[in-house]
């Protein structure tokens, strides 16, 4: 009871405070533009983005958001209290419900410089809604010495990979770690791409209504069933620990682990894209990028767009600093990724090459949350429970068809 009263009085107090403090915008330009970031893990990023904002001609107030950023952002955009400028991945639902504005005119000057597959992740109906900030990608890490010892070549097809994982499983070492769920979360996409399929086709049809999808997912089941996957590890796929501690010979993880892996293993590792399954398929790496977007409900859409153009299109030195000085990302712009010294050798250079040649958007804008849940459920049942892939995929295809019909008519 007391807490509720406290809450009420606290609410009244904040309202008063807010009333006092609402007009503190620097200079005569009125209120500052509000910009949101999620909390990057690497030290220094927060200071960096605040520094960028400070050097802009108009006042910009940067808010750093630890915790569940996506939910917080979604709620604030709904309630109309959201920031003017924010970073996010693109969902077609945000476009359809008019939450964000197209940024074609913002990006036009440098559009060709952005890696096409990255930009595709921020494009709906031919319009760009987010200016990519930094690229993250996933790939296959392997321990050179372990492969040599087992007489295994770095795999170039899925069958070779399954075979290698089996041969590399000895004693306390497992062949491959792709997440504690057996790869359900991260390998569904690569499995489709390995057979030349995709989530959704460019003409808005289901991209995996094909018998090859069943055989691609059956390979994941084969990996799981063969006992060569590490399961139930303390850290999940996004952390390099299982790989650096020698629990596995290969691990599917992200570019961001390269510094940690280098520190632990030196030169004793290499990276690969997820290999192809058959002649129709191609090797692939999933890529994703947060893009800078503008809130359609902002009272100052044009000012916000100007700021996005200034920071994420014009200020290439800031973009370079943001991508390369703190964590380990690839700049989304070819002109920057090509000249970066840090990306010229070793695993990083390979990663740049994969992004150029093999990139697939890890979560395309029209791959909705409902489709994702349905697809992952099916993959989980196929991989972990041995369910029949044909039947499981039939359910997903009809679900995805319904969703696509709803979106595109």
């Amino acid at each position: 009871m007391i807490s509720r009263r406290r809450l009420l009085s606290a609410g009244a107090a904040t309202a008063l405070l807010a009333a006092c403090g609402s007009n503190t915008g620097r200079g005569g330009g009125g209120q500052a533009l509000r910009q949101w970031y999620h909390a990057y893990g690497e030290p220094g990023v927060q200071q960096a983005v605040e520094r960028y904002a400070k050097s802009y001609i108009a006042p910009v107030e940067v808010q750093w958001n630890p915790g569940d950023y996506d939910s917080k952002l979604a709620t604030s955009l709904l309630s109309g209290t959201g920031p003017d400028v924010f970073e996010s991945t693109l969902q077609v639902s945000a476009v359809r419900s008019g939450q964000i504005v197209p940024l074609d005119d913002v990006i036009s000057a440098a559009k060709d410089d952005f890696t096409a597959s990255i930009l595709a992740g921020h494009t709906v109906d031919g319009h760009v809604y987010g200016v990519p900030q930094a690229v993250d990608m996933q790939m296959l890490f392997y321990r050179k010495s372990m492969l040599e010892k087992a007489g295994v070549q770095p795999p170039s097809t899925v069958d070779e990979l399954v075979d290698a994982a089996r041969k590399l499983t000895t004693g306390g070492v497992k062949g491959l770690f792709a997440g504690n769920d057996g790869g359900v979360e991260v390998l569904g996409g690569p499995a489709l791409w390995s057979a030349g399929l995709d989530y959704v086709t460019p003409d808005h049809k289901v991209g995996f209504d094909d018998p090859a999808a069943s055989s691609a997912l059956a390979k994941l089941r084969q990996l799981y069933e063969g006992g060569s996957l590490l399961l139930g590890s303390v850290k999940d796929w996004a952390e390099p620990d299982a790989f650096t501690q020698g629990l596995v010979a290969m691990q599917w993880t992200g570019l961001w682990t390269v510094p940690a892996v280098q520190k632990a293993l030196g030169d004793d590792f290499g990276v690969l894209p997820w290999p192809k399954l058959n002649a129709a398929g191609r090797p692939s790496v999933p890529v994703g990028a947060y893009g800078s977007m503008v809130n359609a409900k902002s009272p100052r859409v044009n000012d916000a767009k100007d700021f996005v153009r200034w920071l994420w299109v014009e200020q290439t030195d800031y973009q370079e600093d943001f991508n390369l000085s703190y964590g380990f990302h690839i700049p989304p712009r070819k002109s920057l990724s090509e000249k970066a010294d840090k990306l010229k050798s070793g695993a990083a250079a390979d990663a740049v090459k994969f992004v150029r040649d093999n990139a697939k958007p890890s979560n395309p804008p029209d791959w909705t949350s409902a489709m994702r849940t349905s697809f992952k459920d099916a993959v989980a049942r196929i991989v972990r429970d041995g369910a029949n892939p044909d039947q499981e995929l039939k359910t997903v295809v009809s679900k995805v068809n319904d969703e696509l019909k709803r979106i595109y008519g």
């Binding site: 509720r4 709904l78 309630s79 639902s93 419900s97 769920d181 949350s369 409902a370 849940t373 972990r384």
Partner: protein, 288 residues
């Protein structure tokens, strides 16, 4: 007059808080469930019962309702019997009663998230140096991926032990309170009438006297079973195995870009009706 003013002075703020923070959201949810509400909480497209029809034919949602009805069927009697047995034991000892009461109650004060992580990462992790797997290794068994394996579904062992550890203390406390309210004279009278302490007094005095407590405990347990969320969400994530209805609805309406409030709230209303139905039926059976 003075009375009325005092009444509203005391009750008003709380009634207002309740209305604004509890009843309004509930009412709004029911309203949303009749609209196509994607990425908006002020929708304009009325769809009647379409959302309900969708949810009632939605495979994963129905499966999760089924799974958790089954879960309730197992976990409710188990928690009930164990907490009652513990309460009888703790109440029966003559010394250090407060100590044991606190020891068993302590886990209830532990955060569900923290406990989930301890269970998932230390006790039941899948590598050979996890606690459970170390014990298995003593007997020469291979490590088990506890939270991953679906045949046999070991994740139920993880979640049921976790839930028991977290919740037993609370129901233990309710039962102890109930036990202490039973007048001692009843036992003395029974003793005079020749009833032997033990099974006979338990069966004919203790259990009947605990009737109101038992009904309350059963009610709370049933609602709790259907509302399971935290430990499942933290141990299993969003997979098709052992997914509670609330986790599914969370991903429909809120988590990671779902924002489909129409279907989410329709599912929530269906779940509420189911809980209400089951508890009413349960009340019928036990208060007759």
């Amino acid at each position: 007059m003075r009375h009325a003013r005092a009444f509203w002075l005391f009750v008003g703020p709380f009634a207002l808080g309740l209305a604004v923070f509890v009843y309004l959201p509930i009412g709004w949810s029911v309203l949303l469930s009749f609209f196509d509400a994607r990425n908006t909480v002020t929708p304009s497209t009325f769809v009647g019962f379409d959302n309900y029809a969708d949810m009632l034919t939605d495979g994963p949602f129905l499966r999760s309702l089924g799974t958790f009805s089954l879960f309730a069927l197992f976990v409710v009697p188990l928690t009930f019997v164990l907490s009652l047995a513990l309460a009888l034991l703790v109440n029966g000892i003559r010394f250090m009663r407060a100590f044991f009461r606190s020891v068993f109650f302590l886990p209830f004060a532990c955060s569900y998230v923290v406990a989930s992580l301890v269970w998932k990462l230390s006790i039941f992790n899948g590598v050979r140096f996890g606690l459970a797997n170390t014990v298995l290794a003593w007997f020469g068994a291979d490590p088990v991926a506890w939270t991953v394996s679906t045949s046999p579904p070991w994740y139920w062992l993880v979640l049921v032990t976790l839930r028991l550890w977290l919740q037993l203390g609370f129901y233990l406390l309710l039962f102890i309170a109930g036990l202490q309210r039973i007048p001692q004279v009843l036992y003395e009278a029974a003793w005079v009438d020749g009833a032997r302490p033990g099974w006979q007094t338990l069966r004919f005095i203790t259990l009947p006297q605990l009737r109101t407590t038992s009904v309350a405990v059963l009610l709370l347990l049933l609602i709790g079973a259907y509302q399971a969320f935290d430990e499942f969400y933290n141990v299993l994530g969003n997979g098709p195995f052992g997914r509670p209805p609330l986790v599914y609805l969370y991903y429909t309406a809120l988590g990671s870009g779902g924002q489909d409030f129409g279907h989410g709230t329709a599912g929530a209303v269906i779940l509420s009706l189911l809980i209400a139905g089951v508890t009413l039926a349960q009340g019928r059976v036990f208060t007759r």
